[in-house]
């Protein structure tokens, strides 16, 4: 064997080892994220359905054509003078309600985030819910931070990085494992290890680009707080208005939202307003956030800030006019969640997203069958082990969902935090002990 061929062979062995070990130790995380991600792409649709059917909150046709909610917001402000934040989400389709997301900080009491539903035709509050205990919040928090508040988001980012490593190393060893096998042929055998290995290779290579994009964008989104701090990156569209009045006066100020929407249309015609928020810090501003049709960027990143007193524009952020670095920054979330091509694209994302879940399960099954050859291990045990792990993940997801919906977000988050961190410490401890044990054995083996 030539020196070059030997080096290539060594590289392939290294890639295989990386694929094997990274996949084995992070497979469970990748599997859970794949499942939650496939559901998370449909969060707006699921939430819309729940609001409509569970809360029976619907909007009647508006006499003016546009959503009406100024009076409802004004009455909310008077009912809850202790509010610290107010954000209004406009409906995407007719018949949907306007959401007023209000954070209440009562003196001596706990912070509460309430989502009020407003009939956009009659300008009337028709219902409310605790935002944090909603299913939409569960789905998002579970996928974004595994319900672990301390470093769950970074853990998910590491999962994204691991998926990128297994996808890229998978591509590099693909040829070695396919040998004379044709894509997409499955070998005719009843050996489950070979069947799983064939599906693993074929599905892995077929959804590779998608998984690499999801992995890299997921790694960025998850590790964003750390990376931004380390690399001193600033959020591109932040704007801090000067304080011009007392916070209490700012909070109590009446805003004519119809006028705000009219001004937004005049000052920023391409903007499709989706979210409005009113300042509470004394800056006396209203922020209009929204999308520009046909653009593949994160939701609601285009901004128009208006003065509360005379509705004149103070700040405008149009992503189309920004530098490439801004565009690159804001394309990540859209590419990760696929919300730029309607329901069809979301369905495609969900389908392709589930492949990484299948790959983590099939990879684990292959690993167990391989181990079975080395150790005296019953065939049924491989399936039993896979079943136990899969059910444990499902039980975790369902259990936390039930606790979050029926007991509360903070309890669910506490339990998830304890479980995840215990599992993490156990896994790292096991890997470390295993490594030390092998090292010890190697050093104490009698030399031949």
């Amino acid at each position: 064997m030539s020196k070059r061929a030997g080096k290539a062979e060594n590289n392939k062995k290294l890639f295989w080892r990386l694929h094997h070990w990274v996949g084995l130790y992070t497979g469970i995380l990748i599997g859970a994220l794949s499942l939650t991600g496939a559901v998370a792409v449909f969060i707006p649709e699921i939430d819309g359905w729940i609001v409509k059917h569970h809360y029976k909150a619907l909007s009647s046709p508006s006499p003016t054509g546009g959503p009406q909610f100024s009076q409802s917001i004004d009455s909310l402000i008077h009912q809850h003078p202790d509010y610290s934040s107010l954000s209004i989400s406009l409906p995407d389709h007719s018949g949907q309600v306007v959401h007023a997301d209000v954070i209440l900080r009562p003196e001596g009491g706990n912070l509460k985030r309430v989502d009020f539903f407003i009939d956009a035709g009659k300008d009337r509050i028709i219902g409310q819910r605790n935002h944090q205990n909603s299913l939409a919040n569960y789905l998002r928090q579970m996928h974004v931070r595994l319900y672990e508040g301390y470093w769950g988001r970074q853990l998910v980012g590491i999962g994204g990085l691991a998926l990128a490593v297994v996808a890229i190393t998978g591509l590099l060893i693909y040829g070695n494992f396919m040998k004379k096998q044709l894509w997409p042929k499955l070998r005719k055998t009843r050996d489950m290890r070979i069947i799983m290995a064939d599906w693993h290779k074929i599905l892995g290579i077929s959804a590779l680009a998608f998984n690499v994009v999801i992995a890299l964008t997921g790694a960025w989104l998850g590790l964003q707080p750390w990376l931004m701090r380390w690399l001193e990156i600033k959020t591109p569209n932040t704007f801090k208005a000067a304080i011009v009045m007392e916070p209490e006066a700012d909070k109590a100020m009446y805003v004519n939202w119809n006028e705000i929407l009219k001004t937004a249309k005049k000052e920023f015609p391409a903007l499709q307003p989706r979210q409005l928020s009113s300042s509470t810090n004394g800056s006396g501003t209203v922020t209009v956030r929204g999308n520009i049709a046909g653009q593949i960027y994160e939701r609601d990143i285009n901004i128009l800030v208006l003065s509360k007193t005379d509705y004149r524009p103070i700040f405008k952020y149009d992503v189309r006019e920004q530098s490439l670095s801004h565009k690159f920054y804001f394309i990540q979330e859209a590419l990760h969640f696929g919300d730029f091509g309607g329901l069809m694209l979301k369905a495609l994302y969900a389908l392709l997203g589930l492949t990484s879940g299948f790959l983590s399960i099939s990879g684990f099954v292959i690993f167990l069958f391989r181990r079975q050859k080395k150790k005296k291990f019953q065939r049924a045990d491989a399936w039993k082990t896979t079943f136990v792990y899969s059910v444990a993940v499902l039980l975790f997801l369902i259990g936390i969902a039930l606790i979050s919906l029926f007991i509360g977000y903070s309890t669910a988050s506490l339990i998830a935090g304890i479980l995840i961190n215990t599992l993490l410490i156990g896994l790292i401890g096991y890997a470390l002990l295993r490594y030390l044990f092998r090292l010890f054995n190697r050093n104490h083996q009698p030399s031949a």
């Binding site: 693909y174 959804a207 694209l345 495609l348």
Partner: protein, 91 residues
């Protein structure tokens, strides 16, 4: 060498199987998302350009059939066609 093995070897081109097909599948992933996005934009009157819908649908048909047929030249041509469209579209 028996006839079946000869037939298999003739059908199995390592370069095509190990490099061109994965590359084409990679592009097909991107293209699938691209086609759905353009069709959605067309039907929602966002980017009212039927030309892009036609060109990208053609690219999709060409690339998927090239992966199926596994002809080396056809694979290269369909990949280059989509890469050219992609670059033109985004740059």
């Amino acid at each position: 060498m028996n006839a079946a093995k000869r037939k298999h070897n003739k059908r199995h081109d390592t370069h095509t199987e190990h490099h061109l097909v994965p590359a084409a599948l990679f592009l097909l992933n991107v293209l699938a998302v691209h086609v759905v996005y353009v069709v959605y934009a067309y039907f929602n009157a966002v980017g009212n350009q039927i030309g892009w819908v036609v060109l990208l649908t053609l690219a999709f048909v060409a690339l998927s059939s090239a992966i199926w047929i596994k002809n080396r030249i056809y694979l290269w041509c369909s990949m280059m066609y989509y890469v050219a469209l992609f670059i033109y579209c985004w740059v």
